[in-house]
């Protein structure tokens, strides 16, 4: 197995182990972004460090925080033992990320706010002539929020070429499938009209993701990588199943999930 796939599989296992240990949910969205976070771990310069020159990685879809914690462990930012603190008292690892934890740039959990912050960071890079890039991981449910569209329009207008937004297009949100809940249009068209470069990739294809993130940005435009993903990816009974936005696993479910991810 290629190293990048092994990283994604390991992140997936850690997510299941940690969530089961804490009896917590938000699994569908966490399993959806394993390859995206792996690609960022491999591509983003000085991923998760405190270095001023690091590329910034912002998890706008804060409800996938567990996937981020597991990615930070996978890429050596934190010791694996830290995951035992997930959702414990007096812990920085909760169900949405807190910026006091190394590797977290910004507190998210209220949808549609991380991207605006990311636009500000990218604008600062432009104004200060800094070299770092800014990556924002956005959920498709965040396209419901007007603030997301406002931020996208600002970024396009300001020609923030160091900004890359990865849209985790898994087609689901809390109460239903996104197309049933709210018709937000085709982002590849609407964002292009706001001044963005667009690239669509299979969201669980490591090579495609890495290439999309590595490719040099257009000097004038921010970039939207539309990653077509599957909520609950890797666990058959969770895939495309709305209820796994919230549910924690029973032991038999956990054992089945681990077996599927390990064999996958």
């Amino acid at each position: 197995m290629h190293d990048s796939k092994r990283h994604a599989q390991s992140i997936r296992r850690r997510i299941l182990d940690t969530a089961f240990g804490a009896n917590k949910g938000h699994l569908g969205s966490a399993l959806s972004v394993c390859e995206i976070l792996t690609a960022l771990g491999l591509v983003a310069c000085e991923f998760g460090t405190e270095s001023d020159s690091r590329d910034r990685v912002i998890l706008s879809k804060g409800h996938s925080s567990l996937a981020l914690y597991c990615a930070l462990v996978e890429f050596g930012v934190h010791n694996p033992d830290i995951l035992t603190k997930y959702c414990r008292d007096d812990s920085l690892l909760q169900t949405h990320p807190d910026h006091e934890l190394a590797g977290v740039e910004f507190i998210t959990g209220s949808l549609g706010q991380g991207i605006g912050y990311g636009v500000g960071v990218a604008l600062a890079a432009k104004l200060t002539k800094s070299e770092f890039r800014t990556f924002v991981v956005l959920s498709d449910s965040e396209l419901n929020e007007g603030s997301t569209i406002e931020a996208a329009a600002i970024a396009g207008t300001q020609s923030l070429s160091s900004l890359v937004v990865v849209l985790d297009l898994n087609g689901q949100q809390a109460l239903g499938y996104t197309n049933d809940v709210l018709r937000v249009g085709n982002s590849s068209i609407t964002w292009a009209e706001m001044g963005w470069d667009i690239e669509e990739v299979p969201g669980h294809d490591m090579n495609a993701l890495i290439n999309a993130l590595r490719s040099s940005a257009n000097v004038q435009r921010p970039k939207l990588v539309i990653a077509h993903t599957i909520a609950g990816k890797g666990v058959s009974f969770m895939e495309r199943n709305i209820e796994w936005h919230y549910l924690p696993m029973t032991r038999p479910q956990y054992e089945t999930a681990i077996a599927e991810v390990t064999s996958g």
Binding site: K24, G62, C87, R88, D89, D90, S91, L92, Q94, T95, H96, P97, D98, H99, E100, I107, T108, G109, S110, L111, G112, S141, E142, N144, E145, G146, Q173, A174, L175, G176, V181, L182, V184, E243, H245, Y246
Partner: protein
């Protein structure tokens, strides 16, 4: 109580075609019963809280009675300007349902902690706030809330609130004749219980009362309740600034002999290390010892 609220709304909607339930894509396992029974009057607007309030304003201005469902922080803070310019400015019966007061969403973090919703909303003229703590209070006063004129904010616990305190409402006078009232707001019963025990341990007996409303109509009720006490200790799952205790401070200014008001609430910014509701309460609310010391200091001057 979320289930009780949606059940009651579903029943009311059977007989009142003006009732509409909107949600900003929240309420999994709760709102479905209304959606199933009244599919045409259940609208999931998506994760779009501002839009939800704007749409509700249009509905209300057209004679409907919209209920807007979301987590309390999103319902109150994110949509604040829309609440202000819509139902408040136009005096419309939009009902904003905010789920999860205080630290109800515990591990979800500050984005989900409704510790400043009261401060934001109680400034709005004509907007009433109702924060029922249990099924009894809900059943007793739902009709009052539902039929009230103007906009309403319903601050609804996500988890069961501690049972009513098993204490006498009149605990007796203290040795120094200082009369102390402990006044709990909404879901703050367990915090009130702990504080009352701490006061007793320090030799301070206090009467106990609960309040569930912040509104122009309940001002006189609160004034009458606290009148005659030397000290009123307010307890709430909200920042000390701007919430229920601050409102009581404003109310008592109208009294000839106002009590000293001691506000007990969330005293510091809950970011960084977090945890369970009880851990958050211990860590980020006023230390009970601090409040007790303040009460003791004031009480010593009573006689």
């Amino acid at each position: 109580m979320r289930n009780q609220l949606i059940d009651r709304l579903t029943q009311e909607a059977d007989n009142d075609s003006r009732i509409v339930l909107l949600t900003a894509d929240l309420g999994y396992g709760v709102v479905e019963r209304f959606a199933k029974r009244h599919p045409n009057r259940f609208i999931n607007v998506g994760v779009a809280e501002q839009g939800m309030i704007a749409v509700a304003t249009g509905l209300a201005h057209s004679g409907m009675i919209p209920y807007c469902y979301s987590i309390a922080t999103f319902a109150s803070l994110r949509a604040l300007e829309f609440i202000r310019n819509g139902p408040v400015a136009h005096g419309l019966p939009v009902r904003v349902i905010g789920i999860g007061p205080g630290f109800d969403y515990e591990n979800d973090g500050i984005t989900h902690f409704a510790v400043d919703d009261l401060a934001a909303l109680r400034s709005q003229p004509g907007l009433s706030i109702w924060a029922p703590a249990d099924e009894h209070e809900f059943a007793e006063n739902f009709a009052l809330a539902h039929h009230a004129q103007g906009p309403m904010y319903l601050r609804i616990p996500r988890r069961p609130v501690a049972p009513l305190l098993k204490v006498t409402r009149r605990a007796g006078n203290n040795a120094n004749q200082c009369k102390v009232l402990l006044l709990s707001f909404g879901d703050a019963r367990s915090e009130s219980n702990d504080l009352m025990q701490s006061l007793l341990s320090a030799g301070i007996k206090s009467d106990y009362a609960e309040a569930f409303w912040i509104s122009s109509h309940s001002r006189q009720e609160i004034a009458d309740l606290v009148n005659g006490y030397d000290i009123c200790v307010t307890v709430e799952t909200h920042y000390e600034a701007g919430g229920f205790g601050s409102w009581v401070l404003e109310v008592v200014q109208t009294l000839a002999s106002p009590p000293r008001v001691v506000v007990h609430g969330v005293s510091s910014l809950p970011v960084g290390p977090l945890g369970s509701r009880s851990w958050l309460t211990r860590t980020y609310m006023t230390n009970p010892a601090t409040t007790v010391q303040r009460v003791v200091t004031i009480a010593d001057r009573c006689s």
